[in-house]
Amino acid sequence: MAKTLPADSVGLVKPKILQVDQLLKLSSGGVLGKYELIYETYGQLNARKSNAILVCHALSSNHHAAGYHSLEDKKPGWWENFVGPGKPIDTNRFYVVCCNNLGGCSGSTGPSTLNPETGKPYGPDFPIVTVRDWVESHIHLSDALGIDQWAAVIGGSLGGMQVLQWSIDYPERLKHAVIIAAAPKLTAQNIAFNEVARQAIRTDPDFHEGHYYEHNTEPARGLRIARMLGHITYLSDDLMHEKFGRDLREGEISFDFNVEFQVESYLRYQADSFVGRFDANTYLLMTKALDYFDPAKPFGGDLSKALQRAKASFFVVSFTSDWRFAPARSREIVKALHDNDLHVSYAEISVNQGHDAFLMKIPQYVEVFNAYMDRIAGDIR
């Protein structure tokens, strides 16, 4: 329990809700007539509205990037390490916005929201949304906040993919793009992992074809397995070895199927803390958004061509031990950027934390992040 909040935190924050009445045409051909986005803001917007930073979240996070919702919160927002006074995304100089993506389960319209037409949760009828659709919804949010041009759009993992899409779809509306631990599209292996996660959820007897809300249940077993699988891919082999090795909880093997190895205990803990806070239909949607992401596709698969229209200055970061979105994937983005003579800097951080490193306070990562954020601050007029 945090009775007093750390001085370098944005402190207590309250989410806001934006009602959007504009039609949102989705990549799938479907439309959303009305929707809501839940978002948080930290720091002060300056008079020229030129110090705004949009943070895009990854697969399982949400609009709560920093601070605490109450003094009883055990944990702050998911990017507390990087958003706050004196931190790289310094709320003393930037106005930071983060929204829960459409299809999410933290307050923005998604599968667990009531469908106004039926009075029941959307469930599987919620349309599949793509990264492009999210960017469109972010544009609605930008307009509502009166922000014509973001000083930067920043994101890690699936968040980084949104940044890339942003820079292609709305080149005039962001000055800087910070893309961390991302990829220009998923590999077959990435999609394979997502498919196993989806199958785990969809074959759970409690899934009820996605209508589990009406049965007052949820496919908890499937969601747990999906989360455990995800966590394996977020860590590196080295880090797992370092953290758990073959350590046993009880010191000796017991020849049964209870939790024996520390790594099993870790995965089960991660799974337990996920169920109840995350909606299985949203998980399915998010993995689909990942699989479908391929901004180069409309340009004959040529990312350099896709980025011809981009205008932002880019900062790309990867982590050496990230095998989910390996450095080579970030270098593909970097190549497409310098092919177009765009401003780009690229840092490859040597760490063993794997994909999850983008959330962690790693000294060299913090150093380059700070340095680049200073550049962004210097460009604010």
Binding site: F315, R331, V334, H338, D341, V344, S345, R375
Partner: protein, 203 residues
């Protein structure tokens, strides 16, 4: 920044060779001093490639476009003829395969600019020939066992490699450790030059 303030005098010569508004790729760009000087004084655009973490941070702070990468992996992420100049200053001798990197330079750039410590300098010869020891000097300060400089060469060696690879040398300078040239250096570059500077292109 003015030319006088450039910390490394070889940079002044390189900067002199580079045409305004050209596109430059600086291999092993360090803290970005050369690129930043070229951007300010010659309106040059381009990228630096660097491996060292601290230098990466410095480059970002100096508004340099820097890409963290190991030159020994080559330049495969750059297309043919992307740059007017590819610069490699005092880094050639630290490469695993200098010949391959030179070929990479000439693939992505029109002209190459290379500077390296000349192992043919009389002091090196004295160390080897008279003292029978591996040379240690101001430009090559490391002991043989912990040096990053694993492929040292002389002015003659370098020129022979350029000939073999089919490169035409457009300019050559041999300078002493304060990067001054003199009549002696022009007459006996391989004996008196501590640093060699070359500008070359494909024939």
């Amino acid at each position: 920044m003015t030319q006088e303030q450039l910390m490394r005098p070889d940079y002044a010569i390189i900067a002199d060779w580079i045409q305004p508004k050209s596109r430059v790729l600086d291999l092993g760009c360090g803290d970005g001093t050369l690129l930043s000087h070229l951007a300010k004084n010659k309106k040059v655009s381009g990228y630096g490639i660097e491996l060292d973490d601290h230098n990466i941070t410095q480059c970002i702070r100096s508004n340099i476009n820097v890409i963290q990468s190991d030159l020994d992996r080559g330049l495969s992420e750059f297309d043919e003829d992307s740059f007017d100049y590819v610069v490699l200053s005092l880094t050639l001798q630290a490469m695993h395969r200098p010949d391959l990197l030179l070929q990479e330079m000439m693939r992505v750039g029109t002209e190459g600019i290379v500077t390296f410590p000349n192992f043919g300098h009389w002091r090196s010869r004295f160390y080897l020939g008279v003292l029978g020891r591996m040379p240690v000097s101001r430009t090559l300060p490391n002991e043989w066992y912990d040096t990053p400089n694993i492929h040292l060469c002389t002015i003659r060696d370098f020129e022979e490699l350029c000939y073999k690879l089919g490169y035409r040398i457009l300019e050559r300078r041999a300078v002493d450790h304060v990067h001054k040239s003199s009549l002696g250096l022009r007459l006996f570059p391989n004996l008196l030059g501590q640093i060699a500077l070359y500008r070359f292109r494909r024939i």
